[in-house]
Symmetry: D2
Amino acid sequence: MLIRCGYDIRFETQARTAMVALLSVHPSRHQDLRTPQRLLASPDIPLYQFEDAFGNVATRLTLPLGEVSLSCDFVIEDEGEPDEEAPDGPQSAVEDLPDHVIPFLLSSRYCETDRLMTVAWSNFGQPMSARERVQAIVDFVHNHIEFGYHYARSDKTAWNGYQERQGVCRDFAHLAITLCRCMNIPARYCTGYLGDIGVPPVDAPMDFSAWFEVYINGGWYVYDARHNQRRIGRILMARGRDATDVALTTAFGPAILQHFEVRTEETSTMG
Amino acid sequence: MLIRCGYDIRFETQARTAMVALLSVHPSRHQDLRTPQRLLASPDIPLYQFEDAFGNVATRLTLPLGEVSLSCDFVIEDEGEPDEEAPDGPQSAVEDLPDHVIPFLLSSRYCETDRLMTVAWSNFGQPMSARERVQAIVDFVHNHIEFGYHYARSDKTAWNGYQERQGVCRDFAHLAITLCRCMNIPARYCTGYLGDIGVPPVDAPMDFSAWFEVYINGGWYVYDARHNQRRIGRILMARGRDATDVALTTAFGPAILQHFEVRTEETSTMG
Amino acid sequence: MLIRCGYDIRFETQARTAMVALLSVHPSRHQDLRTPQRLLASPDIPLYQFEDAFGNVATRLTLPLGEVSLSCDFVIEDEGEPDEEAPDGPQSAVEDLPDHVIPFLLSSRYCETDRLMTVAWSNFGQPMSARERVQAIVDFVHNHIEFGYHYARSDKTAWNGYQERQGVCRDFAHLAITLCRCMNIPARYCTGYLGDIGVPPVDAPMDFSAWFEVYINGGWYVYDARHNQRRIGRILMARGRDATDVALTTAFGPAILQHFEVRTEETSTMG
Amino acid sequence: MLIRCGYDIRFETQARTAMVALLSVHPSRHQDLRTPQRLLASPDIPLYQFEDAFGNVATRLTLPLGEVSLSCDFVIEDEGEPDEEAPDGPQSAVEDLPDHVIPFLLSSRYCETDRLMTVAWSNFGQPMSARERVQAIVDFVHNHIEFGYHYARSDKTAWNGYQERQGVCRDFAHLAITLCRCMNIPARYCTGYLGDIGVPPVDAPMDFSAWFEVYINGGWYVYDARHNQRRIGRILMARGRDATDVALTTAFGPAILQHFEVRTEETSTMG
């Protein structure tokens, strides 16, 4: 399956403003690109990429005074299969987890494991396989939080989401991640493209999506507490401990978002 | 100057419990060791080290049921000079900072830059050099928070510390770090040994200490908002975004701390 | 299966001599340790570990004037299964290989792909699966080189081994690695413990062993051109591009090896 | 000073051929770019970048059957100062060198320290500062090898260069690097742009240049055994152990170079 992805984003600034953007496809998908993925700025300012501490492609740029547009458009190949199901079986003991997954058991800016430990153990502490436990957490979060675009708030943490019971996809992800970590299941936050492929089209402007991955039985598996279903055509951009690490753009000064448009759709041609 | 450092820590558990400990001297000080730094466990369980994502030496172990002691004792050489003073001069623009310091400008578990942005800019926004700005922040934090061992709380963030005005050395560090990051000065959290060398002895049991480093003019420089003075003989153990990353021990299950003793003192012999 | 491993090595020097040793179990086996793996020096000089660029545990030490012994002894758990067989199927195109395996396609000190390209393609260029091709290479090398301890020479390369047709286990590995790389199959050099488990005991002093791994169908698989059989109980110490990267010890000055003893044997107790 | 750099390279292939190219400016110079550094392929095939093990930007691409051009053109700012002189003072003991420079003391494909150890110590073993020793090595190599474009050979090592006394800039670098390593001075190979800035123009088509860096007194310093002078306007592309690690292009199959043109010149405009 070929998927065409892209975006057009425009900022307005009152002064030169440094920015870091995580708006590139994740290296794990580089070999699926069927056309160049070229991040263009208008005006044509210098951009450069670096690999961040989580293995994502980050772009650094300096917005000049005035308006700057960032855009991208590319075609990528996808297997067209729903998210792979995690294998069943007993949960790994923490002592058997590899070193590199340990950070994904700890607290982070939006995932306060210390505050949700009791909630987690009282709800999900009974004997279960890792897969059952993650599914129970996802079911819980999916039902506990009411989705609404107007509930988005940049400082809302998992604890806030748990108490306020309202949020957007990132709040679903943060709460589910936190509960998994409390239960000693490594969990990491993901952002990327997710179009309405294989599901009824949604009557809302398309946005990037947030989901999460858990480490079960030696591998990472995708879960999505917002939709609570295995979806087709996720195109990963970045992973991190939570939304702090993978903000689409981080501006180091005031930069007003004037325009934001994301595209993700199945296509039959690369032209 | 030779400094003898060490600790004796004892845990009690009700069940096998995985643990990660950041109780080793930082690799940047390895070449100053004058005796082996041997982390011993009693009973003699397997331990192994790995380098974490921040370049620290982390130790993994599994506490068996019952009591486990961890101890260490070593002699290290130190220049015996006070913390180096940062150079003066204009603050670097974010666009000129190297890629690897960018994470130390972002929010983290205990350092909510989003919540303290206004506090930071209203207090420290006037024209100043980077060094003056950091010193102004350190002076502010030093005076704003009242020190008291009983104020320690594991979920206290910079925002909480700012509001409650009470804390321990880590709370001083978290607030100062957060304010520096708000002002676009990269700041990272440090833990290590800090004895009463060159200062009057303190009549309290010795503990590990927390301080922080800021990135000014191409280098990292030590600041200590708790003491607000340049000290002699800091022996760094670990650095990270905040106390989450460099907790002395993280137990993945209940492990009760039964005994805790830290030693740091000038010595004239290695015996 | 429990395996007891260890060594006693003694050097004599005429002056303080810096050394790097790759004499620790590989991190991928850390969680199999059943007793502490404690590297001891006599006299009790400071040692410290770092993770090298290939993910191995390297130890740095400075040999004082005179004699220094290094020793280690530990028990490790092993599945007791023969080396896993690589899956069959067509060889991956280079364009589909992940970025991190690319260095293992290039030339290195002892593996001159440029010089052996014609040998490789003329012998192994016909249509085959990756597994068949590696096996053909291993069969070829196994038969082409005559084993003999006295053939060891520190500057012998794959090209030399190919021409001289004599060598030790590292020469078998270097030639097989080079031929695999020529055929666009990533290959890396391994060192570790390999006892006579499941095979008739060999009447020779035990040594560390060298083997190699190839990247087939998304995973690394062990091959051993010296023995040309799937063995039980390999305990990996280090991996690299060739023997340069994983020399057991590299002395930066004259250090004479006075004693060398390696132990690897199945055991039923940890005592 | 503004410098305009760029290249046009064209390959012809008989079949799809995977390639890795190190044709991007080194990350340490990213912040000096004044126009985008856009690597273009014609036809417009997908390209993607990754950071290699040495911190260079590597590009992966797959040449389709037929002709493919790669081109780049950008303006970069440079201080316009000659290569910085290394500080004087005693050479660091190996035991005091940081861990990350150790690989640059070892043998590599084109730098056989084992073979040149005696040459090195007999010529450069007398008491000298590190800077004096490196300069003595550079003087020696500069005089020992006769430069000539037609002496280029892809399998020529430092040892070959020493014996044949003929070579191109990479052979000068390999020999000097090897002799430095033999003397326990870490040395690494560099490639990049070097125009005729501040020197009389050379009547030869411009090429990329090879030089090297040595680690003295805590920093890396540039040396150039081919020219044996401190030059202005080096624009680093990649560093590695030797030319193997930083080949401009590595094709995994036959790809014939049809056209090769490099530009590096001072400019006054970014247009």
